[in-house]
């Protein structure tokens, strides 16, 4: 018996209800078509909620969840990616890319030297590819660093 599907199903039902509630808050203008902006989202919420109920009542086999170590690696990676997303603009392309790529590489195969080399190689290689071959406007390092 699968607990994951039941829990997920409950989350889906609650989410669907919240979605419907939020759809009902949609402002309507006085000039509207017969259907209006609320019907479609409410319909979707209803179908999704029904699917959630089916998941609760007839769950599939338990999926193969990762062990604690892998979960930790995943959380680290998500954190790195979020940091990378914020860092791209203020810090330019080269440095954040090298760091993020190295950490990701280390998470996949824990060999420090190879990971650092992968980070550096990807950072420089992709920069050349994007900037000079494909002509995308990337900023290598923050303005002012190169004078």
């Amino acid at each position: 018996m699968s607990k994951s599907d039941r829990i997920f199903g409950v989350v889906v039902v609650l989410g669907a209800l919240a979605y419907i509630a939020s759809a009902l808050q949609t402002p309507t203008s006085f000039m509207s078509d017969p259907v209006g902006p609320k019907t479609f989202p409410v319909l979707l919420g209803a179908v999704a909620g029904l699917c959630g109920l089916v998941m609760v009542l007839r769950p599939d086999e338990e999926p193969d969840w990762p062990d604690l170590g892998a979960v930790f690696a995943l959380i680290v990676s998500v954190g790195v990616l979020i940091g990378y997303a914020y860092a791209l603009k203020p810090f330019g392309f080269l440095i954040p890319t090298a760091i993020a790529a190295a950490i990701l590489s280390y998470q996949i195969t824990p060999r420090p030297v190879a990971a650092v080399l992968t980070g550096l190689g990807l950072s420089v290689g992709l920069f050349i590819l994007f900037k000079y071959v494909l002509g995308l406007g990337l900023v290598p390092v923050p303005k002012g660093w190169l004078g």
């Binding site: 994951s4 599907d5 997920f8 889906v12 979605y19 939020s22 759809a23 949609t26 402002p27 309507t28 203008s29 000039m31 509207s32 078509d33 017969p34 259907v35 902006p37 479609f40 989202p41 979707l44 919420g45 179908v47 999704a48 029904l50 699917c51 089916v54 998941m55 007839r58 599939d60 999926p63 969840w65 990762p66 892998a70 690696a73 995943l74 990676s77 998500v78 990616l81 990378y84 997303a85 791209l88 603009k89 993020a100 790529a101 990701l104 590489s105 998470q107 996949i108 195969t109 060999r111 992968t118 990807l122 950072s123 992709l126 994007f130 494909l134 002509g135 995308l136 406007g137 990337l138």
Partner: protein, 501 residues
């Protein structure tokens, strides 16, 4: 001969040196993308869209490049199936069943060549059929009003949920998630914001490219992190070989049958290449019977799924181009390409933008010959690609995804959204919830809602209008049947598992 003049127009575009170069480049990149384990046609094309877009290629050129990548990836998928027993993409799963045993029997080269020819035949047949069938279907599509379109969208979602997944409720839920996301943003009719939660970034809605790259590419990275790069099978080294002409000739009927069946499977909405390779393999296995030795590494077992999946890949372009309804995950991605380029697929595409359609068809024909050349004599080059370690490949995929989305939107918000979609894709795939309906929902959501609301405007709110024409009723019946019928078949037809050693 309208067809001939159309093809002449197409070839006049495709034979320009620049377009030709793009087709060759696309084939090359595509074969690599397909061969790399962990990158298939959908995520391969997905990460390339934003980059192609920012390069400022015109519509035809971008389309030629990306469909060449798509076809190339369908060819390339077999390389890792045969040598590593890891399907490069989902449709290539069936190729592992006979391809890997054949490689282990000391004939990997022959397996690659036979499957290369089968791929060529399947894709060629499908492209020719595409040129013949698509214009006719586009004329039928002119009969479609909003009520028919609404039913058609429903059909696409229900067959996708019914045939291509293991659990109806989960597939339907995934469709709702996609459609629900498409609602976010300004309402097309009233111009007022919906479901944005007051967030200014969400006013324009969620960009489908962000969702596609997140769900397909970033989630793949998470899978590799979870496995810590394990599961990399010991590959089979390529042997010295001659092209086994006699053996290829012996599979001619298999290839012909599988090309036809694969094409039909591809045209069906929601079915796509995975169904094509599955159906054709099972069909040939039944025809060959016990003596056929399927599963032990026979030529027909290698040729069947490859002819089938490449024919289906071409077939899937038919509903995508004529109706704007994609038949599979990869064609959903190609639909995203068209939408990014401001091309509206559908019957009007054939009359308004003939240069796009016929240029595309002509380039596909050319791409096919290029791919045959790359995949038979030059296959050794692509085999080298298999030795790229995941620890280098996956960070690369991530960075390309980030740069693509970043250069498209220039802000961190869409990057965060992309990461969110990556997490969602990971959890969904863990729970056996298909992610393709999510993409399809985001892509088609606003069209589907518009169709519904336009139909209601026409009928002044009378719901029975949705079932008022024979075409609409037929589509509704197929939609319901396509969703429910697989529940009963599922116990009878089991997907064969990949061979383990």
């Amino acid at each position: 001969m309208e067809l001939m003049s159309n093809l002449a127009l197409g070839f006049s575009i495709a034979f320009s040196p620049f377009t030709l170069m793009l087709a060759v480049l696309g084939c090359f990149i595509g074969t690599i993308v397909g061969a790399l384990p962990g990158l298939g046609p959908s995520n391969g094309v997905a990460i390339l869209i934003p980059i192609t877009f920012t390069m400022g290629l015109d519509a035809t050129a971008a389309l030629v490049l990306l469909t060449a990548v798509y076809y190339g990836a369908m060819y390339g998928g077999r390389i890792s199936s045969i040598l590593l027993n890891i399907p490069g993409d989902e449709p290539a799963l069936m190729t592992t069943l006979d391809g890997y045993p054949m490689a282990k029997n000391g004939r990997p080269g022959q397996a690659l060549v036979i499957s290369g020819f089968a791929s060529f035949w399947g894709a060629l047949f499908a492209t020719v059929m595409l040129a013949l069938v698509a214009p006719a279907l586009s004329r039928v599509a002119y009969q479609f009003g909003p009520a028919e379109y609404f039913a058609l969208y429903l059909l696409a979602f229900s067959t996708l949920g019914g045939i291509a997944s293991n659990n109806q409720a989960k597939a339907a839920f995934a469709s709702c998630v996609g459609l629900g996301i498409s609602v976010i943003g300004l309402d097309n009719f009233s111009g007022l914001p919906r479901m944005t939660g007051g967030n200014l970034h969400l006013m324009d809605g969620v960009d489908f490219l962000v969702a596609i790259v997140g769900l397909f590419a970033v989630s793949e990275v998470f899978f590799f992190i979870e496995k810590h790069g394990k599961g990399g099978a010991v590959g089979v080294k390529l042997n010295k070989f001659r092209v086994p002409w006699a053996e290829i000739w012996s599979t001619r009927w298999t290839q012909l049958r599988c090309g036809i069946v694969g094409f039909i499977a591809g045209v069906l909405p929601g079915a796509g290449a995975s169904l094509g390779s599955f159906l054709t393999y099972m069909m040939e296995k039944n025809i060959a019977g016990e003596k056929g030795g399927f599963g032990t590494g026979v030529a027909r077992g290698v040729a069947a799924p490859e002819a089938g999946n490449n024919a289906a890949a071409g077939g899937a372009l038919v509903p995508m181009l004529t109706l704007g309804v994609p038949g599979s995950g990869t064609t959903a991605v190609l639909l995203a390409v068209l939408m990014t380029l401001n091309i509206t697929p559908g019957p009007t595409l054939f009359t308004d933008r003939p240069e796009v359609v016929w240029g595309l068809i002509a380039s596909l024909l050319i791409a096919n010959f290029v791919l045959l050349a790359m995949n038979v004599p030059l296959v050794r080059i692509f085999v080298k690609v298999l030795s790229v370690p995941p620890a280098m490949l996956l960070p690369g995929v991530t960075m390309v995804s980030f740069v693509g989305i970043y250069s498209l939107t220039g802000g961190y918000f869409d990057l965060l959204l992309m990461i969110l979609f990556g997490i969602m894709g990971y959890v969904f795939r863990k729970m056996d919830i298909p992610t393709v309906p999510v993409i399809l929902g985001i892509l088609l959501g606003s069209n589907m809602e518009d169709a519904l609301r336009r139909a209601m405007v026409l009928s002044d709110g009378e719901w029975t209008y949705l079932f008022s024409s024979p075409i609409a009723v037929g589509l509704w019946i197929f939609a319901v049947a396509g969703f429910i019928a697989p529940i009963y078949f599922r116990n009878k037809i089991r997907k064969p598992q990949a061979v383990t050693d």
